[in-house]
């Protein structure tokens, strides 16, 4: 990977998303059953709860070539596992700071609360996030590679 000089218009961002099973993934399914079109740039990984997402997974996604990472969970107070999304909220704040420190614009990382009934909101979120990443352009990975060389793999 290098600092691609492609123009923003023909740049197709690659985005990884983590969806909790109970709310956001169900919201995505509703967008499907309602046939609401949205940007195809996001591929979702379904986890049981947004709190399953280790900050390391987000960093790994950036390291492996993602231009943006999205975490979708239940609305605060609605977590299927009582408090999982509050953990996500705290981790997200930490992660945003860390990303800035790594010179990755923290706008490339988003946490959204989308319920099982918010199919339209799901679609809008995906499209708007894709557009935001498109406007930010592809992620330069030089600095990140250096970081990862120091850090090593946690497994």
């Amino acid at each position: 990977m290098s600092e691609v000089s492609a123009t923003k218009a023909d740049f197709e961002p690659k985005i990884i998303a983590f969806f909790c099973k109970w709310c956001t993934s169900a919201g995505a399914d509703l967008a499907g059953t309602s046939r609401i079109n949205y940007a195809p740039n996001v591929v979702g990984i379904r986890v049981m709860c947004s709190s399953r997402v280790d900050p390391e997974h987000v960093l790994e996604a950036f390291r492996e070539g993602a231009d943006g990472v999205l975490i979708g969970g239940c609305h605060p107070g609605d977590c299927h596992y009582q408090t999982g999304n509050f953990k996500t909220m705290r981790r997200a704040a930490f992660l945003s700071n860390l990303l800035d420190a790594l010179s990755i614009d923290s706008k490339r990382f988003r946490v959204e609360w989308i319920s099982a009934s918010e199919g339209r909101r799901f679609a809008q979120t995906i499209t708007s996030f894709t557009e935001e990443i498109r406007s930010l352009g592809p992620l330069s990975r030089k600095r990140l590679l250096k970081e990862s060389a120091r850090g090593g793999n946690h497994e």
Partner: protein, 654 residues
């Protein structure tokens, strides 16, 4: 590849008629995945969920000796369980299945065929890389203690206890008051049939006391609940009553001789009771208790008359409170309601004007066994009120100041109050201030019509804006929104239909159970429509007004439904539990305990000897929060391991 046993993986791509194949080019997908690491078979079918589709999957598994499977089809929420069974029938572990959702999250939301096909390939690749690492798992079995705890001895608790006990299971019924019966015992007559409440209730109370399967514990409270569905351990505090229930024969001479009186809670402070007392004559059990806050002997060491007159020697001033531990498999919460205290409603004269009372107090005035023997007399001077205003929706449907919800029973009981008042005070005039009349129920509308037409109850549609005393009368001002003019009626007594609030015990019990309550403090059900009597905590069921304001028929049917759910649980000797839960790599765990704080279910504990974290397999719900929080990577979520997530990320971005 620590958890990998897979080397023969099959991919089955579903066309879903044309739902998938019209936007996803199946042939291109197949081509792209041929030779993908670990994949030994890739095939497709028009409808994989159909019988022929499933047959095909089963045959291919056997023929090709597959040991893990990816099905690229619709959302896993639809057919994951179907296909798990298919795998099991074909002889491989059902948890070796992975669903790639290429319909809801791909073919249905993209119109460009090329784009959708590419995305489908990514989704399937991610599923493959996860499936290759899926472990074979077995659902976790948990034994069930077939004994239920029912908290609260009102009509909901009584009904649930009798239903469970009659099905042959043991029940412990815990009631905080000295008698069961709850609020229903305080009511005079019940709408819409005007049955006497006591008459229909007391025989059920007696049935509870006599039932061989019911252990009735009155003057008791649940103080601790631990464990989980099928295996709860509860601690019950037996409060001091100073009367030995084993010895007491219920003769009541102690009550007769007791020299001291205090306000009767049962009569809403409209009458006095003795300090040694039964809440009401038909109390079950028929054993008096001593009110320690007012007893002369207990306060000052003087008196002791009750002990002196008691034949069997049942009075025990030295009695201590006791704690009883019990194991139960299921819990029914029937803690009931309180009415919002009128002292907190100064704008309607609550607490300052003695002739402003609440609905329950009026029930006592109407009751033949009440403080006035069923004659309608007002509290301040015992005069018969010639004009009475009934105000509905006091604190209910009032989101600006109090509660936004409807208390549900007030429209009907106010109709009943006004009607019974008119029956007893022939020349009296009842006024009802209301917002709407909600008479949805069998015979309810007819009942309300009867009140307003035959019994000449004057219904005024509008809220009361102000209430004050003037010249010995209470002036009730409001707006008649139908006539569009302001009205003021001068009455002798006011009855407020105050909001139904969850009993104060709800928040305490909810904390003990870690069960959730809604914004109004009522217990939350697992699903408002399809699982209305289950709480958010497995094995805990809800009945009556602990969940929402309810009338008696709804309470009784809900309680029976809760009892049925308990019996359902008790019907099998063990429970099955999803195995995709957390585990611990003991070689890596440093025993730091971070996972313990993170776990919302207290499923995590520290093994003091080995100094490593453990997982209670039954309590763990498999959210994975501990796995993400673990700093060493010792916490693993089965079939959602870091390795699996990482390989999915790589597969998608490759």
């Amino acid at each position: 590849m620590k958890y990998s046993h897979a080397n023969r993986l099959g991919i089955f791509i579903c066309h879903c008629g044309v739902n998938i194949s019209s936007t996803v080019d199946i042939e291109t997908v197949k081509k792209a995945l041929t030779g993908y690491p670990g994949v030994s078979l890739i095939t497709d079918h028009t409808y994989t969920c159909s019988n022929p589709g499933q047959d095909m999957i089963r045959n291919k598994i056997r023929e090709e000796e597959l040991d893990s499977v990816v099905i690229a089809a619709c959302s896993p929420s639809l057919h994951e369980n179907t296909f798990r069974k298919t795998l099991e029938e074909a002889g491989i572990n059902p948890y070796k299945l992975e669903i790639a959702n290429i319909r809801e999250q791909c073919s249905w939301v993209h119109s460009d065929r090329k784009v959708a096909t590419e995305k489908a390939i990514s989704i399937i690749k991610a599923a493959v890389s996860k499936a290759l690492l899926n472990e074979p798992l077995t659902p976790i079995s948990v034994p069930v203690t077939r004994k239920a705890l029912v908290v609260g001895g009102g009509i909901a608790g009584i009904q649930a206890s009798l239903n469970i006990a009659n099905s042959g299971y043991k029940v412990i019924l815990v009631e905080k008051e000295p008698s069961i019966g709850g609020k229903m015992a305080q009511l005079s007559e019940t709408f819409p049939t005007l049955d006497c409440s006591q008459c229909i209730l007391t025989h059920r109370m007696v049935e509870v006391e006599r039932h061989p399967n019911i252990n009735l514990m009155v003057s008791s409270e649940v103080t601790r609940i631990s464990g989980f569905v099928g295996n709860f351990e509860v601690t019950i505090r037996k409060k001091k009553t100073y009367v030995n229930a084993e010895k007491c024969n219920g003769c009541g001479i102690c009550i007769e001789k007791c020299p001291r009186k205090t306000d009767s809670e049962f009569d809403r402070a409209l009458s006095k009771r003795k300090v040694i007392y039964r809440p009401f004559p038909q109390a079950v059990p028929n054993i008096p208790v001593i009110d320690g806050e007012h007893c002369l002997y207990l306060l000052k060491g003087r008196c002791g008359v009750c002990r002196d007159v008691c034949g069997p020697g049942a009075i025990e001033f030295e009695q201590e409170e006791r704690f009883v531990k019990e194991k139960v498999g299921a819990i029914v919460i029937a803690t009931g309601y309180e009415t919002f205290p009128i002292e907190n409603i100064p704008e309607y004269g609550g607490g300052t004007i003695p002739d402003v009372i609440d609905g329950l107090a009026f029930e006592r005035i109407l009751s033949a066994s009440g403080p006035t023997g069923g004659e309608i007399r007002r509290p301040s001077d015992g005069k018969v009120p010639k004009e009475v205003a009934f105000i509905q929706c006091v604190c209910s449907r009032d989101p600006e100041k109090y509660f936004s919800y409807c208390s549900k029973v007030c429209c009907m009981y106010t109709s009943k109050h006004a009607m019974l008042y008119k029956h007893r005070v022939k020349d009296g005039q009842p006024y009802v201030f209301y917002i709407d009349i909600r008479a949805g129920g069998k015979g309810y509308e007819e009942f309300y019509q009867r009140a307003s037409e035959e019994d000449e109850v004057l219904y005024i549609r509008g809220k009361v804006s102000r209430l004050y005393r003037e010249d010995g009368k209470i002036v009730v001002e409001g707006t008649d929104t139908l006539l569009q003019e302001n009205v003021a009626v001068r009455v002798d007594m006011v009855v407020l239909a105050t909001a139904i609030r969850p009993s104060q015990d709800v928040s305490r019990i909810a904390q003990l159970l870690k069960a959730s309550v809604d914004e109004n403090g009522f217990f939350t059900e697992a699903h408002p429509k399809l699982r209305p009597v289950e709480s958010m905590t497995a094995g805990v069921f809800l009945a009556g007004c602990a969940q929402a304001p309810r009338d008696i028929p709804d309470t009784v049917s809900g309680a029976s439904a809760a009892a049925l759910m308990v019996c359902n649980l008790f019907a099998s000797e063990e429970l099955k539990h999803e195995p995709t839960i957390a585990g611990v790599d003991e070689d890596v765990c440093s025993g730091c305990g971070i996972c313990i704080g993170v776990c919302p279910y207290e499923a995590r504990e520290l093994d003091r000897e080995k100094r490593v974290a453990t997982v209670n397999e039954v309590l763990c719900e498999g959210c994975g929060a501990c796995t993400a929080a673990c700093p060493s990577g010792a916490a693993v979520q089965r079939n959602f391991t870091d390795k699996q997530i990482s390989s999915m990320i790589k597969a998608i971005l490759a």
